[in-house]
Structures are given as C-alpha cells and as structure tokens.
Amino acid sequence: MANITYIEASGQSTTVSLNDGWSLMQGATANGIDGILGECGGSCACATCHCYVDEARLGDLPAASEGELDMLENVAAERRPNSRLACQIKASAALEGLIIHLPATQE
C-alpha cells in the first residue's frame, strides 16, 4: 500500500491510496484523475501516461527498462530527467508519499 499524490498541470492535487502491484497509471484512471490517458491499458506501448516523478524520490523507484526509456523518447510533453511512464511504476511501501506531476498534454 502506498499513498501517491498526483498533481495535474492545472495544480489540482489528488492523493490516492494504491494497493501493492497497482501501477500509478491504473491508480490515476481508476480514481478519476485527469492528465493520464493510458490508451494501451498499461502495456508500455503508447506513452500516454507520462509523468514527472519527485526528483528526491527517483532512487526509490526501480530503474526504467530499455523499452520504457525508448517510449519516453516519444512522449508528447517535454521529456525531463525525471520523466517516467506511470504504467511501469508499481505501488509498494517503498513509494509511500510519492508525489508525481502530470504534464499538460499526453498527445
């Protein structure tokens, strides 16, 4: 279980409690958070769940796979050093309190 805070480009902030194993993309779509589309359903195939992870917490996340890094090259909004795909980050106790910022556009 982890409480994850999503901050949308509009400034709207929502904190959601996610069961272990849920991806941050699923947490957003299932909880009515705009700003994450997840068109492919979480298959790391569409790059519409781009997010910016709290820089101080980057080390708490498992490293991005080569496939994810490749998809990040195609995101619609600006790619930054803390860019990740929310579908590839699974909730666990290690992520408690994580804040992610959502870009203004995913497409």
Partner: protein, 411 residues
C-alpha cells in the same frame, strides 16, 4: 433543440470522441451509451495480463465515472440501441425510450466471428472480445488447470496467440490450430511468422499449421471435449478459444440506410454518408484516396478516428492520416508494428533475431511500407517517424546496423 451528441458505444472510440468534443469546446450535452454492464474499460489487457491473473478487474478501468462526470459526459450502461431515425434525428433504445440528437457518433465496435462448424456453440467454446468473455475464459481455464485438461486455440492471429501464451504461462497444455500455412500470415513477413512459431514452440505450445477442422466434439451436456480434424484425428480439449477475426458492427447503420461495406464507410475525417452522423473505431471501413476501403482494428485507430469524428461534429476537418500502429504482447516479447505491409516484396532484418531484439522492414521496391519490431521500441518509434515523413531507407541501409537510420530524418 440545443446541441446534443449521442455516442453509441462506450469503448475506446466512443470515449475518445466524447473527450475530444469537450477538449474542442463543445458545450452541449454528450450521452455515451454502452451495452455492457461496465463503464469504459481497457480491452488490450484482457488477453494478456488480466487473463494471466496479474491484474484485478478494477485495474481495467479506462475512465472512472467521476472523470466522465467532471467532463459532463453522461454514461449510460446496459443499454442497446434498436434503431436510428435519421429524419427525426432520434435513436430508439431497447427499452422503448428515445433520445434526440443533433450529432450522432457510431462507435459500435466489432463482434468476433463464430466457428461455422458443428459444436461451435458448445459450452467451453469462447471468443474473446469483452470483459465477460475474458471472465468466462478465465473461469474455464481454472477448471482446466484443476482437471488437467488441454486448451485448444483456433486461429493463429493476435488474439489466439496472446491467449495461447497466457495459457502456457499458467502451465496448461496448449495447442494452436491455424488454417493458414503460417502464423499471422496476413500481417507479418514470413520470416517473422516462423520466428513466432519458434517462440511458441520454445515455450511448449504445440502448433498445427494448415489445420483442417471438422467439428467440435462434445459430451452429453454439450460441453466441449475436443476438436476433431478433417483427417479424423481428435485433439482433446477442456477449453477452446476461437480467434478467427471479427466483423464490424454495422447493422444499425445499415438499417438506417447509411453506406456500409463490411463496416460503416467513413472518410478520413470520420464522416458517414449522413452529415449529422460520424463513426469511429472497429465498426468503420475507411475510404482511402484510391477508392479502396481499409478496416483497422486497433486502439490507435479507435483513438485517432475518435478525434477526427469529434472534429467533424464541430465543423472542422481533422483527417486521420497518421501511420497506423499496433502491438502485441506474447511471453516476454513485445511486437510493435508501424505501417501496413500489404504488397511488400522485399524485406530486411535489422538486429539479432536469435537474441530476440530486432525489426523486420517491409519494402515495395525500395519504398518502406512498414516495420515490425520485436523488443525494439526504439526502432518502432523511429519507424513511425520515417513513415509519417515519407522518408525511406534503402533495403540495404535498413539491414545494416552500421547505418544510423535516424540520420535520414534530418536531411
């Protein structure tokens, strides 16, 4: 009446159209009609992670109800439309009530083709399209695990092969019966069909190509017991999954007198033959500039057509011309396909097929048509850019890792 858009179908295309209408500034009412018990959900995981038991059902949610409500999109589930009255601009619902519209969106999807054979409707024989289908297959798989019954997949296309991979993941004895001489024959180059056949065999799935099926065998309770071939051989089965293609749901449109040809005929902007009606997704057949019709069944097609259809209702022209792309997950391999390979006469392989990370480039002459990438997302993304830009490497360049293909784009 004030502007009211009715969207028939709450899948990928319907939801995309609804949201694109709001993004585009539409202020009237939007009603999204779904014929299932669920709000919008993701279909792609159904044959993959969801069927494998790696996701719970809540994780399939595509848009939470409050997300739709915030956008003033009224979702109605468990409702079917029985008729469209184009003159009165009314849709009649199955409960007899009717809804007026100023603009209508047909996003009715597709239906799996049934097995036209004796026993094709037996218990334990399923197609996979909806969440309910997937639930029924998962339940039957559990029975097969318990009773150690084998699984037969009829059809070596994407759905069939994804289900086969999932069944193998669960340790089930699995056989794929494919009528054609190779897997995914309509979409993949022969070299890739063979590679996928090896992938499945290496994971313990049996493949029968050129398969001639005579009938589904059943017990006295009409439950499947096996698949009988034309030569009399019987493959025992506790579950049969049929993946032999889909047909566009264009019956409503046909009945309303809209132009249909194995799908609701639309232009690149999503217009049907009625200016007040647009269509998007699996239910459509898109008229290409050369007059031919293109049917695509993919998430990307549904979302892009949805955006076009919304624009058309707003009086804008937003033709869908982007390079088509698709993906499929089988075992630990992600196939990503860009472009359409029909008509290819030359191929180049880039990367290491034995190591399982490579791309197959399809050419007609020296013109790049399509690229199929296996565990090579970077190739895939570059391929989309090349195809979008109409830039083609030569066959020799495509197969030469020493040539940086991205360099072709900046010229």
């Amino acid at each position: 009446m004030s502007a009211a858009i009715v969207i028939i179908g709450a899948g990928q295309a319907g939801v995309q159209t609804a949201e694109a209408l709001r993004t585009g500034g539409f202020a009237g009412s939007i009603t999204l009609l779904g014929n299932e018990a669920y709000g919008p959900y993701h279909r792609p995981p159904l044959s993959k992670a969801w069927l494998a038991g790696e996701m719970d059902s809540a994780q399939l949610v595509m848009r939470a109800p409050e997300m739709l409500a915030r956008k003033a999109i009224e979702l109605r589930t468990n409702v079917t439309v029985s008729a469209i009255d184009r003159t009165a601009k009314l849709v009649t619902l199955s409960d007899g009530s009717s809804l007026p519209y100023t603009g209508l969106v047909l996003a009715t999807g597709s239906t799996p083709r049934r097995l036209p054979l004796p026993g094709g409707d037996a218990q334990g024989v399923f197609a996979l399209r909806s969440r309910d289908d997937a639930s029924a297959i998962a339940e039957r798989m559990a029975v097969c695990i318990e009773k150690q019954l084998p699984v037969i997949v009829i059809g070596g296309g994407f759905i069939g092969l994804e289900v086969a991979a999932t069944a193998r993941k669960k340790g089930l004895s699995t056989t794929v019966l494919e009528a054609a001489p190779r897997l995914l024959g309509r979409v993949l180059a022969p070299v890739l069909s063979d590679w996928y056949a090896n992938l499945h065999r290496s994971h313990g799935a049996a493949l029968v190509l050129d398969a001639r099926i005579a009938a589904i065998e059943t017990d006295a309770q009409n439950t499947v017991t096996g698949v009988r071939m034309a030569d009399g051989q019987v493959y025992p089965a506790g579950l049969v999954v049929v993946g032999i293609g889909v047909a566009a749901n264009d019956q409503l449109a046909q009945a309303a007198g809209l132009e249909c040809d194995r799908g609701i005929v639309v232009d690149a902007c999503g217009h049907t033959s009625d200016p007040a009606i647009v269509a998007a997704g699996d239910c459509t057949a898109r008229r290409l500039p050369d007059g031919s019709l293109l049917r695509l069944e993919s998430v990307q097609n549904a979302t892009e057509q949805g955006k076009s259809a919304a624009a058309a209702l707003l009086g804008l022209e937003k033709p869908f011309t982007a390079t088509p792309w698709f993906w499929s997950d089988q075992y630990d391999k992600k196939l990503q396909m860009a472009g359409l390979s029909m008509g290819a006469d030359q191929w180049a392989v880039r990367g290491d097929m034995a190591a399982g990370s490579f791309s197959v480039y399809h050419f007609k002459g020296e013109r790049l048509l399509a690229v199929d990438s296996v565990n090579a997302s970077k190739d895939h993304l570059l391929a989309r850019k090349l195809l979008d830009a109409g830039v083609s490497p030569t066959v020799a360049q495509a197969g030469d890792l020493g040539v940086e293909l991205a360099g072709l784009l900046v010229k």
